[in-house]
Amino acid sequence: MTESFRVKLNFDSTRPIYMQIIDEIKRAVARNTLVPGEKLPSQRELAEATRVNPNTVQRAYREMEAMGLVETRRGEGTYIREDEGLLANLRSEMAKTAVDSFVRQTIALGLTEEEVLELVSSVYKVIRRDGRGEEGHGR
């Protein structure tokens, strides 16, 4: 059992808490903070750690099970499913969300598609040159 991933919750949001929990776990999987086959904290442990109603955590775990993200092994706990396709899907799903948000922002700023693509290219170059990791900020 590892608590190397942190679940950060924002109560000033319209997004239900149980969904935020799922988002955070998905993020952790996409970033390899949680690996397939790894055991999640027990529902009660996570509820205590995040100071959230155990009901809410239970709902999150149930939804993740229904999504195929986790599986519960009787008497042992809940584990991230070992599924290659899962990881890839998750990554692409999260990337899509990030890009979607990004594109909308640039549209709002009045940039054209060409300008955006150029911008993306130059930013990549800068990041690679400075040797920074993929840990960025932002939602």
């Binding site: 919750l9 109560f11 000033d12 949001s13 319209t14 997004r15 239900p16 808490i17 009660r44 509820a47 205590e48 995040t50 100071r51 959230v52 109603n53 155990p54 009901n55 809410t56 239970q58």
Partner: protein
């Protein structure tokens, strides 16, 4: 759904002198949820909890638990924790637990031992020698060591130091069995306990201003209960 509500009050009224501490409160609380009773000082939170605990009698209206008017019978189903320090100063932690255990039908020693351990309470320490934070922890241990239907906690975090607050909140979550236990926590410090509420009731001057599912409120306004609380009581 005709399921019997655990707590049912109907136009509950209680006054002290000329002040109406509770002024026509009608709520129906089902079994198995955590309710946050929120409001500023003097809004009637303590009075309401005492009416549920049987420490105060209604002037008008009714208050029932499991369909039974609050009285000797309902006290067996309710574990109440007041805001004040109500444990005898001269008793040791161990004596307090034994005393409390003897007075109720639903005491669980395994839970008590677990809580004493987690809350770092020393069995031989005298209550009078404990710090405020430690006394708050002990109160909680006494309250949560019962297998009651309804837990009433009046400002369990008020005046408590941060490490103790964390332990207290974790203890609340740790022992809570959703669907089986019902908790009503009164507080005017909402930020730390926000996440555990299934439902929130805002009280002001003895009346209910808001009575809703916590998540519904957050989703509707895009604001935390803490934030809404600040806005409502501006």
């Amino acid at each position: 759904m005709a399921a019997e509500m655990l707590v049912q009050t109907d136009n509950l009224m209680k006054r002290f002198g000329r002040t109406k501490a509770t002024d026509g409160i009608s709520v129906a609380i089902p079994k198995g949820i955590v309710v946050g009773l929120i409001g500023p000082n003097g809004s009637g939170k303590s009075t309401f909890l005492k009416l549920l605990a049987g420490l105060l009698r209604p002037d008008k209206g009714s208050v029932k638990i499991n369909g039974v008017p609050v009285g000797l019978r309902t006290k067996a189903w309710v574990s109440y924790q007041p805001e004040i320090d109500h444990l005898y100063n001269w008793m040791t932690v161990e004596q307090v637990l034994e005393f409390a255990a003897s007075l109720v039908p639903d005491w669980r020693w395994e839970r008590a031992d677990e809580l004493i351990g987690f809350l770092n309470l020393e069995k031989n320490a005298k209550v009078g020698n404990l710090s405020k934070g430690m006394r708050g922890r002990l109160k909680l241990a006494v309250t949560l060591s019962r297998d009651a239907d309804l837990f009433l906690l009046d400002e369990p975090l008020s005046g408590i130091d941060p490490p103790s607050r964390l332990r207290i909140i974790k203890s609340l979550i740790g022992g809570y069995e959703a669907g089986r236990h019902t908790m009503i926590l009164s507080t005017h410090e909402v930020a730390e306990t926000e996440g555990i509420f299934d439902r929130v009731i805002f009280l002001d001057e003895g009346q209910i201003k808001v009575d809703e599912d916590a998540q519904t409120l957050r989703s509707r306004y895009g604001r935390s209960i803490q934030g809404l609380f600040e806005e409502v009581y501006q």
